[in-house]
């Protein structure tokens, strides 16, 4: 879990062993109006095999844009204008750049290598098809030798995997409760044994008790089936309990990455600290918390320098002119922070001119 990864590699160099996804400099822009709006800027991270990476951010932080870019589900006006999404298969084949694949080759990777669970299960499930038929469609599209009967049997098996009884396979989605639908959507995402599942706020629409049940199931299945998870949500307190590592996004950039334990014990970016302090404690003594004053920046007209500086209580001179790069902390190689208060060891000037 804590194996150190190398510093910035030249493009094309092999990633560390055990990496499943290696995102480098991903930039997504929206082609609207006069000048394009950059919703995701220079996003880089790696995901290790079997790891749960949490991505936390508020609305407008670019987390949803990142998801649609990763899964190649984006539609105009969103365009990936730079960066690579290198996927390392279990089979040890050379990595493929998902961002550069054409639609036909991409289809080979969807479901079998990478799948997605959306916020609303109804986006993934067809309301006029029985659950079994939907599972069978997916299964048979990837294994043409599979008979219809076997596919339905496999569908029932997948449903029991997420705690839905097998006889529900003949149900239509609307006959299930919201929580069950979301579990069925997860089972569907796991149908072809993917190595990576991207989850976009999968439990935001369900209640806390159901959320806990679904996540318990995801954790159990991950132990059995060995897949990695990118888990996107606005709920940082949930991620602190759930994820191995967490990336915090603000205004389209990753501002801090670190293990959950490190981020809990010692959040370094002022935004991370503010976000932590935005969740009132359930048991710890109560103090007056303030959240973060101000509101997130308008991406059509981002502030100069660090995008967080207008709301930052700790800003100093230079914050409004220098954009801090995401640099590795000296003490903890797993930790990266983009803040002028944490200058990088190799880059004493701390930041690039903008």
């Amino acid at each position: 879990m804590t194996a150190p990864t190398e510093q910035r590699r030249p493009p094309g160099a092999p990633a560390a062993a055990g990496t499943v996804l290696d995102v480098r400099g991903l930039t997504v822009e929206y082609a609207t109006g006069q000048s394009p709006v950059r919703a995701c800027v220079d996003v880089s991270f790696t995901l290790r095999r079997g790891e749960i990476l949490g991505v936390a951010g508020e609305s407008g932080s670019g987390k949803s844009t990142l998801i649609t870019a990763l899964t190649r589900l984006q539609r105009p006006p969103a365009v990936t204008t730079a960066g690579q999404i290198l996927f390392h298969g279990r089979d040890g084949a050379p990595p493929v750049d998902l961002a550069a694949l054409d639609a036909k080759r991409l289809r080979r990777y969807r479901w079998t290598s990478l799948s997605i669970v959306m916020q609303s299960a109804m986006d993934a499930l067809n309301p006029v098809m029985r659950l079994g038929a939907q599972f069978a469609d997916v299964l048979r599209a990837h294994d043409r030798t599979l008979t219809r009967k076997l596919a339905w049997a496999r569908a029932a098996e997948l449903l029991t995997l997420v705690g839905i009884s097998a006889d529900r396979v003949r149900d239509y989605p609307h006959q299930l409760s919201g929580g069950m639908r979301q579990r069925a959507a997860i089972a569907l995402a796991l149908a072809c044994g993917p190595e990576l599942v991207v989850m976009d706020e999968p439990t935001t629409a369900v209640d806390v008790v159901m959320q806990r049940q679904i996540l318990a199931q995801v954790l159990r299945l991950r132990a059995e089936l060995d897949f990695a998870v990118v888990f996107v949500t606005h709920d940082l307190s949930l991620l602190l309990e759930l994820a191995d590592r967490i990336a915090i996004m603000y205004a389209g950039r990753i501002v801090e990455v670190g293990s959950s334990a490190a981020l809990y014990a010692d959040p370094q970016h002022p935004y991370t600290r503010g976000l932590r302090a935005s969740f009132p404690p359930l048991r710890a003594p109560l103090t007056t918390l303030t959240g973060i004053p101000g509101s997130p920046p308008d991406l059509r007209d981002p502030p100069p320098g660090c995008p967080f500086h207008p709301r930052c209580a700790l800003r100093t001179s230079g914050c409004d002119t220098h954009l801090p790069p995401l640099v590795r902390a000296a003490a903890d190689p797993d930790r990266q922070v983009a803040c002028l208060l944490h200058p990088s060891p190799q880059d004493p000037t701390g930041g690039e001119q903008r």
């Binding site: 609207t32 006006p77 365009v79």
Partner: protein, 304 residues
Amino acid sequence: MRLEFLRSWKVITGLALLAFFALLALFGPWFVRHVLGIDPLANDISAIAQPPSGAHLLGTNQFGQDVLGQVIEGTRASMSVGLLAATIGTALAVLVGVPAGYFGGRIDTALNFVTNLFLVMPVLPLILIVAGYLRGTGLWVIALVIGVFGWSGAARTLRAQALSVSSRDFVRAMRMVGERSHRLIFFEVLPHLTGLIASMFLHAMIGAVLAEAGLAFLGISDASVVSWGTMIQSAQDQSAVLRGLWWWFVPPGLCIALIGTAASLVNFGMDELANPKLRAARSTTVRRARRLQRTARLNGGEAS
């Protein structure tokens, strides 16, 4: 945001066409008589059923009347019927549909009953009977009849929309602070329906222009007034199709088709702006996205 609809080419084209016909209706008759020097009702015995030529730009009909003159003259009658019928129909639809949707309950039941009654009434036969009964009383009566019998569908749609707007939180919230019903209807609910009402008005207008032509075709019209409908009707009477006098019935038919196209263009354009899903598929969005992708690739190529 309010004037954004003027950026869609569909809306602009549609509005321009409608404006053109409106001008024609206003100044057409004056223009025909004083600029072109044509009397659309005069019979030129020397030119009976002539194809388009220098002397008669759109030819003449069986009675030696100038077709161009008649088309322009007829614009006023057709547009007037359209406007008046659409105004009456839309007003009735608003007066019945919006209160039904807003108040619900017994008021809704009563108004809905009236709407349904008009909806299931066999409108065309009724119009024929009423128009036949009122024979000879002119275009205004025809417009009135078309308007009075043609509002029920629009009232239904408006009722549904008013119902949905009335149940939105901002109406509830204003009711909770004590706002009166009539102000809630006219200042909170109705402004959200203006787009719909405008589009209904355009639809009603095309419908009325077509209905007028249809009624004229069936012989229910004021024969002393030139309209597109009466033109087509008299062309039919004189077997213009069989005799190949296409210039007699094509121009008025084309005008009716153009008005319909214009109104549809405006509606389509508005729809695209109101519905972001349609906007994503708009060619400008796709084109812009492609251009961005291309320039990004070029820059990436230079960098490496």
